[in-house]
Amino acid sequence: MARFTIKVNGRNYPINVSPDTPLLWVLRDLIGLTGTKFGCGIGQCGSCTIHLNGNAVRSCVLQVGKIQGRSVTTIEGLSPDQSHPLQKAWIQEQVPQCGYCQSGQIMQAATLLERNPAPTRDEIIRHMDGNLCRCGTYERILRAIERASKEG
């Protein structure tokens, strides 16, 4: 066990865990931010995607001991009042079905629009291809990203 302070959604959290603990479990079980989901545990599905210093990363394979001094953003902190253009577009396009992968999808998409406010369809697909959805909402995810890009 070791003591750390991690910065999540602008707040500092003191924690006491083994440094090789994946950030995912720290976020979910210690801090109570459960919007970030456990899907595969090996960085293959994208349900656990968060931002680390603005980059989309898989928190299930990110050891908490390695992120000191860096800033973590989860779905709960993406916008102060759920008003991120992607969140609005997600509702307008009625994207989620079961919803379990959608935090990760939105977090993944947010880093694309940050860097490339008007991506092409191919660019969107390339950026989103590592995020799995079993319900089959891909078409609507695409449309929502395009909408957010236009209306954001």
Partner: protein, 737 residues
């Protein structure tokens, strides 16, 4: 689900007589106990609810808000919105007044009527909307009637002179209007709500909500992390648990390094179960590490031991027509075997498919808190069978279901896997053993390797065609494990083939099996549609026209087929390297036809589906946008299974373990999908699975149109496609006999 503080407690103590009194600040059409599904369940409450069953669904408050109970699991199919929409429609509620909560788990009141009149709260088989449609329309109409009668009495006007507008009663002659909320001040609710016959229901032409866009209730919380899945539940004093389960299904732990694991950091204890060893500790990290060090010796001699999926398929091919397995007739009409013998032309082909895994994004999990005495429990789980969870947990503790409090959670995908309660029962055992609340999580590897799969199978099809090119005889034998899972969708009720015989030959493998979105329709409709296509091609008849002839006596089905042909402009010339295939299917009462347009990467053998058109007759479409999402999702899941998915069993063990070696369809594999619903005033039918069965046939038939070769083995993986393209012999030689 958000807790509704207002309705906690209090109303539990209502007696039946209370309902005859004038309601006070809140008019209760329901005996509401606790906050439905969120907080409390008690036996005392359930007996009271039974007395006013017809009024159990809606609660109207003086502020105008209308609480409607949703009895179905919400796993992404949208029933938690669609079912309240049905009530709100007939009661003429303003949708913006409506709040939704889970109903109590009481099938006698909140169940939908199944076969034999038994009510069930299972959310399976795409049954929610079609199962509840008529009942909930009547509930809504009854409530509207009660409101109208109350106002008529209060205003001393004939009830026939009153009408409703959204959440408002109107007396046109005087111009007086009163909101539903205001009616609570004087409303009288009879103990028996008035009888409503079908003629008193709205004409579908007057629907304001049904058939119109209503945003799904659950979606906003699914965009900000607030939606609560069982995986997200934490209760005070909760421990974490993993189970090491036998790599060969159903073997038992003989021994394990109990003291070593028990001494590891953060480990509370280990628990021996029938089929595994539970590791319980203070954090996920601790139990993950401990389970990694667990060494279990498993019992030998279970049935699945030595099972090899490749060898099994070869063996299955020897079974039809042999005396090794007694074939069971699923349905029969005319005399198919004799007609077949005398047919002008006979065709025969085998179709194969592998075990397929649910791969729902939320791995199985449950939070269970068994009380100190071990005679009651509180459970948080995402399940398709809430009543099943209560009864199974009760059975495990050897108590009655009233001892189980169940808190429904959103399901991170169901697809048939979550109608089984195995993962909840495991958690009950663990919590009971440790006398603490336990969150049991299945890792992805657990979820996959100890899954319950869509069964692998072989299908032997044969058909006889007369001189005019009509199919006169049809036999279909499905070989595999899984009984009725094998033959769902094997029947062909819409095709005009006078002599049919559908059979199954069941073998036993010891592999855990289960319903999987659309069940056997996935592989059966693939085989049926691909086989029909082969026959059409051999008869030199366009496959669309060939199906038109087969569907000549089924106008609704024909309309679906014609519509999809029109949507896709069937028959038009395509760019080089593209081809199309067509397929038809029925599932859960809905009729669907699909056209796939594909190309094949010659080097890798990878099939790319560029476009997919689908026409669906689902009767009245309650939620058009969500219905479309369901068909889109079904097509994606179907294509995923058709193109990518299979499990390999060697030595009784599942070889795949996670998404890296069990591929599901990704965004880059998405076709453009176009869906059209046939306008209809027929009762609604199921849509959650209807998109799945049309995919296999449409893709295989497109592939044949493109290459002249027939894909008869699911999935159409690049390796398999490449191997087929490399075959130089003419494959159809075996086909026509």
């Amino acid at each position: 689900m958000k807790t509704n503080e207002q309705i906690q407690g209090g109303s539990l103590r209502h007696t039946r007589r209370d309902f005859l009194k004038r309601a006070g600040s809140g008019l209760s059409f329901a005996v509401v106990f606790g906050s439905a599904g969120v907080k409390v369940f008690s036996a005392q409450g359930s007996s009271r609810v039974r007395e006013t069953a017809l009024g159990a669904w809606v609660r109207l408050n003086s502020d105008g808000s209308i609480l409607i109970y949703n009895p179905a699991a919400e796993m992404g199919q949208g029933s938690m919105t669609a079912l309240p929409v049905i009530i709100a429609e007939e009661m003429d509620a303003d949708w913006s007044d409506v709040r939704i909560e889970y109903s109590p788990i009481e099938p006698s009141i909140y169940g939908s009527q199944g076969r034999g009149g038994r009510r069930s709260m299972r959310t399976t088989g795409s049954r929610a909307v079609r199962g509840y449609f008529t009942d909930l329309r009547k509930v809504g109409a009854q409530i509207r009637r009660v409101l109208l009668e109350s106002v008529a009495r209060e205003w001393n006007v004939p009830v026939s002179k009153l009408t409703t507008e959204p959440s408002t009663v109107v007396h046109a002659a005087s111009g007086r209007r009163i909101s539903y909320g205001e009616i609570t001040a004087f409303a009288q609710v009879p103990s028996q709500l008035p009888e409503i016959d079908d003629s008193q229901l709205k004409s579908p032409r007057d629907f304001r909500l049904i058939g119109h866009f209503v945003p799904r209730f659950d979606i906003p919380d699914k965009t900000n992390g607030a939606a609560q899945f069982a995986m997200d539940v934490q209760v005070p004093g909760m421990l974490y648990a993993l189970i090491s389960r036998s790599p060969v299904h159903t073997a038992r732990p003989v021994s394990y390094n109990e003291s070593e694991i028990g001494a590891m950091a953060g480990i509370t204890t280990t628990v021996r179960l029938e089929h595994g060893v539970g590791v319980i500790g203070s954090s996920m990290e601790a139990v993950i590490k401990a389970r990694g060090n667990l060494k279990v010796e498993w019992s030998k001699g279970t049935e699945a031991e030595g099972f090899d999926s490749k060898a099994a398929l070869l063996e299955y091919a020897q079974i039809p027509g042999s005396d090794r397995v007694q074939a069971r007739t699923v349905s029969e009409q005319g005399d198919a075997p004799t007609t077949l013998q005398h047919a002008a032309q006979r065709y025969e082909a085998d179709f194969l498919s592998e075990h397929v895994y649910h791969a729902q994004m939320e791995p199985l999990n449950a939070v269970v808190s068994v009380n100190e005495a071990g005679d009651g429990a509180e459970i948080w789980a995402g399940t398709q069978s809430s009543w099943g969870v209560r009864t199974e947990a009760a059975k495990t503790l050897k108590v009655g279901p009233e001892r189980i409090k169940f808190h429904p959670c959103y399901l991170g995908g169901g697809f048939g896997r979550r109608s089984n309660s195995d993962y909840v029962v495991e958690a009950v055992y663990l919590s009971k053993a440790v006398k603490r609340p336990v969150k049991l999580i299945w890792t992805r590897e657990d979820d996959l390797q100890y899954g319950r799969f869509r069964p692998m199978n072989l299908q032997r099809m044969s058909a006889g065609v007369d001189e005019q090119g009509n199919i006169t005889a049809w036999t279909h034998c499905v070989v595999g494990d899984g009984d009725s899972l094998l033959t769902s969708g094997a029947e062909i009720p819409f095709y005009d083939i006078p002599n049919q015989k559908i059979e199954r030959c069941t073998v036993s493998t010891g592999i855990r099996l289960k319903h999987w979105r659309a069940v056997g329709h996935g592989f059966n409709k693939f085989a049926i549609e691909a086989f029909i296509d082969e026959i059409a091609a051999d008869q030199s008849i366009d496959p669309y026209q060939f199906r038109r002839t087969l569907l000549r006596k089924a106008p609704r089905a024909l309309k679906v087929l014609d519509t999809v042909a029109q949507m896709a402009a069937w028959g038009k010339e395509l760019p080089e390297g593209r081809a199309r295939g067509i397929a038809f299917s029925e599932r859960s009462g809905s009729l669907a036809a699909g056209v796939a347009e594909i190309s094949v990467d010659d080097a890798s053998g990878k099939i790319r589906v560029h476009r997919f058109w689908s026409a669906v007759d689902g009767g009245i479409i309650v939620q058009p946008d969500n219905a479309r999402a369901q068909i889109e999702g079904g097509i994606v899941t179907g294509l995923s299974s058709v193109l990518f998915e299979s499990l390999t069993l060697k030595d009784g063990k599942v070889q795949e373990s996670n998404y890296h070696d069990y591929s599901i369809l990704r965004m880059s594999d998405m076709p453009e999908i176009e869906v059209k619903f046939i306008e209809s005033y027929e009762p609604p039918s199921g849509l959650g699975e209807a998109g799945v069965p049309i995919t296999g046939g449409a893709v295989a038939n497109a592939f044949a149109a493109l290459t002249g070769k027939r894909l008869r083995h699911l999935p159409f993986s690049p390796e398999r496609v490449r191997a087929l393209l490399d075959e130089h012999k003419i494959q159809n030689q075996k086909f026509q006999i």
